[in-house]
């Protein structure tokens, strides 16, 4: 049974999506329950996958699609799914965020995408299938197809929003296609030289035939990196991200902001360590290592400053994502296990804290009716529960213990010091300070804002507000996801040592 877990994680939401579309004609009200159940099953299976992979007997689950056995010379014939502890953790993050986000979308879906609710749930499940597939697949071309599946579904999901969202979805189509095409081109060059598409086999052929210094391989590496960077919105290529995530329907933004870029960072780490290997990527004869760390420094600084310049809370958070992508790219390129493991740990912690902040921001924008920070007077008084969740996420973004943001930054900084890349260390600390300014600006507004405004807020139009305290929270279906997300921010922070050791052990195997 356990060997079928990888495919079950994919198949349950896939069929869930089909069922939701069929149900949508007759019983649109059941779509929510159906997708909740299918994503719940999927995340339970991925939780069990972590347990199975972590137990000492099975380090890696390999699943050959269609039962194609390898050839006599050891080369794979069919498409293979491969799940180790790192993939299992990311898959759990994807399916669990999907599950929690479905709870969040209970009331929002009907309000924001009227008449398209079944399609929304179908697309979000297909997006989860694509993301899990990207993480698990061990076939370079299959990875391209899955990247395109996630892209197509996310274009459609973003375009469900207002007219600004449609326009930004169009820009995303153009940029996303360029990115995916560059990745495909890189795979083509690898295929010319190695004659195989299985990631392990490509690595083996490259090693056996000693093709490392061949120009085609270098070109392939550069093309793949360019493609992956476009998809993850690495700084100069980030143009599509802020508008797309800020104007998308809120339950789409809360799902895609934490996951899309993070999964692409995982793909980058995987391509660097599994496909090309430590010696090739970090060897001294290529200039790119120093260059990319400087680029990530630029991404961190520019992302933070652009975020600081925004007054719209969602736009601000999207620029913070751009800065966070810089953290992870820089960490992965430091060239030591601490940096790589820090970048990987940051994938998980950033997913948790971005999810938390996006849900909180969506709730605030919904209740206040204005997305500008200046309108957030007295929010702590008006919606204390939401603001608790927001505070946890914000403190994690700034990097205060015991939230996970502190520990991931800690590991990244220690990696930077170990590698002697001081510019990266400085950029991280600078970004922390800027984040502190950004979020304390909001706290100040929300906590000490105009006291005189209280009476104003208790105007008769607030009929559902509690007349004594003025507290006006949102329904439980939006608060529960917020608390699950902020709980995970704290849990990941408390469990950081254990998690970090797992990641480190898994990465050390790859580096040797």
């Amino acid at each position: 049974m356990t060997e079928h877990f990888p495919i079950l994680i994919l198949l349950v939401p896939l069929f869930g999506a089909l069922i939701v579309v069929l149900l949508g004609r007759e019983r649109p009200e059941q779509c929510w329950v159906t997708s909740l159940v299918s994503l719940g099953i999927s995340s339970i299976i991925s939780l069990f996958t972590i347990i199975v992979v972590f137990s000492d007997k099975v380090q890696t689950i390999r699943y050959r699609m269609g039962g194609w056995e390898p050839e006599a010379n050891g080369y794979e014939v069919g498409i293979e799914l491969r799940v180790d502890i790192l993939a299992a953790l990311v898959v759990f993050a994807v399916t669990f965020v999907g599950f929690v986000n479905t709870i969040y979308s209970k009331t929002r879906a009907e309000a924001e995408v009227q008449g398209k609710v079944p399609f929304f749930y179908a697309l979000i499940q297909l997006l989860i299938v694509g993301l899990c597939g990207i993480v698990m697949t061990n076939d370079a071309f299959n990875l391209y197809v899955l990247i395109e599946i996630t892209s197509l579904t996310s274009y459609a999901l973003i375009a469900m929003g207002n007219r600004r969202a449609v326009l930004s979805s169009f820009n995303y189509v153009i940029m996303g296609t360029i990115g995916a095409s560059f990745y495909l081109l890189g795979v083509g060059y690898l295929y010319i030289k190695t004659g195989t598409l299985n990631i392990d086999d490509i690595r083996m052929v490259l090693g056996n035939d000693n093709l490392w210094e061949h120009q085609s391989i270098v070109v392939a590496f550069i093309f793949i990196m360019l493609g992956v960077w476009t998809k993850m919105a690495f700084f100069p290529l980030h143009g599509w991200l802020p508008n797309a995530y800020a104007y998308a329907p809120s339950m789409t933004g809360t799902f895609m902001a934490p996951l899309m870029t993070k999964v692409m960072v995982y793909v980058m780490i995987r391509v660097m360590l599994w496909l090309f290997g430590y010696e090739f990527v970090y060897s001294g004869q290529h200039v790119w290592k120093e260059l990319i760390i400087w680029m990530s420094v630029l991404a961190i600084v520019a992302g933070s400053l652009l975020a600081l310049a925004r007054t719209d809370i969602k736009k601000m958070l999207t620029y913070l994502i751009v800065a966070e992508v810089g953290y992870m790219v820089g960490g992965a390129w430091l060239g030591n296990v601490t940096g790589q493991a820090g970048a990987f740990y940051h994938i998980l912690s950033d997913a948790a804290m971005t999810f938390c902040l996006f849900i909180a921001a969506s709730i605030i924008v919904l209740r206040v009716g204005d997305s500008r920070v200046n309108a957030f007077d007295n929010l702590f008084r008006k919606m204390p529960l939401t603001m608790i969740g927001f505070t946890v996420g914000a403190l994690s973004m700034i990097g205060l213990p015991p939230t996970c943001g502190f520990f991931s930054k800690w590991y990244l900084i220690s990696g930077g010091i170990e590698a002697g890349q001081w510019e990266y260390v400085c950029a991280l600390i600078f970004s922390s300070l800027v984040n502190a300014i950004i979020f304390f600006r909001i706290f100040e507004r929300a906590y000490f804002g105009k006291i005189a405004g209280v009476k104003e807020d208790l105007s008769p139009s607030d009929s559902d507000a509690n007349p004594d305290t003025g507290i006006k929270e949102v329904p439980w279906s939006m608060l529960v996801p917020l608390f699950i997300a902020s709980g995970f921010v704290l849990l990941l922070g408390i469990m950081n040592r254990t998690l970090f050791e797992w990641i480190q052990t898994a990465l050390e195997v790859m580096n040797t």
Partner: protein, 155 residues
């Protein structure tokens, strides 16, 4: 012609002409995507860009004197072969040996079937999106759309 240019063409362009064609096509597509003002023209550029990569993949599967990779066993040999499947294993093996130089490599071509499907669905989705843009803005020219957004939006 100048001998240096002729030499350059002979050494760098003629043997690698498939790469040259795909690079030129790709650059045409990229140029259209970046500079064109009309959204549909951008999409045409995107289609050219994707097609260039398809051409690249198809061209790497081709071999000199290689035919279509379809193996036909329609002679009497084939029927004997299936009948004698269990007994004469060695003879069976001999029939199964395929001279790989006679056939084009089918794998890149098969991959491109998938890539074509992906390209078609991307284009279809992008056209649907541009239809929605036209509905809400009344135009498909990028500068006009941005002008319409300017007064209200705080971007």
């Amino acid at each position: 012609m100048d001998p240096i240019i002729a030499n350059f063409i002979e050494e760098n362009i003629v043997p690698k002409f498939n790469y040259w064609i795909y690079v030129i096509l790709m650059m045409i597509g990229l140029y259209a995507m970046i500079t064109k003002n009309n959204l549909i023209k951008k999409l045409i550029g995107m289609a050219i860009f994707q097609t260039a990569i398809i051409l690249f993949y198809v061209s790497i599967g081709v071999k000199e004197d290689g035919g279509i990779p379809i193996i036909s066993h329609h002679g009497p040999d084939h029927h004997q072969e299936t009948e004698a499947h269990s007994e004469a294993g060695s003879e069976n093996l001999k029939h199964n040996i395929i001279d790989k130089d006679k056939y084009a490599n089918p794998l890149p071509h098969v991959l491109m079937l998938t890539a074509i499907v992906v390209g078609v669905s991307t284009l279809g989705l992008a056209l649907a999106i541009s239809q929605r843009i036209h509905k809400s803005f009344g135009t498909l020219e990028e500068d006009e759309i941005l002008n319409k957004l300017r007064p209200g939006g705080h971007d």
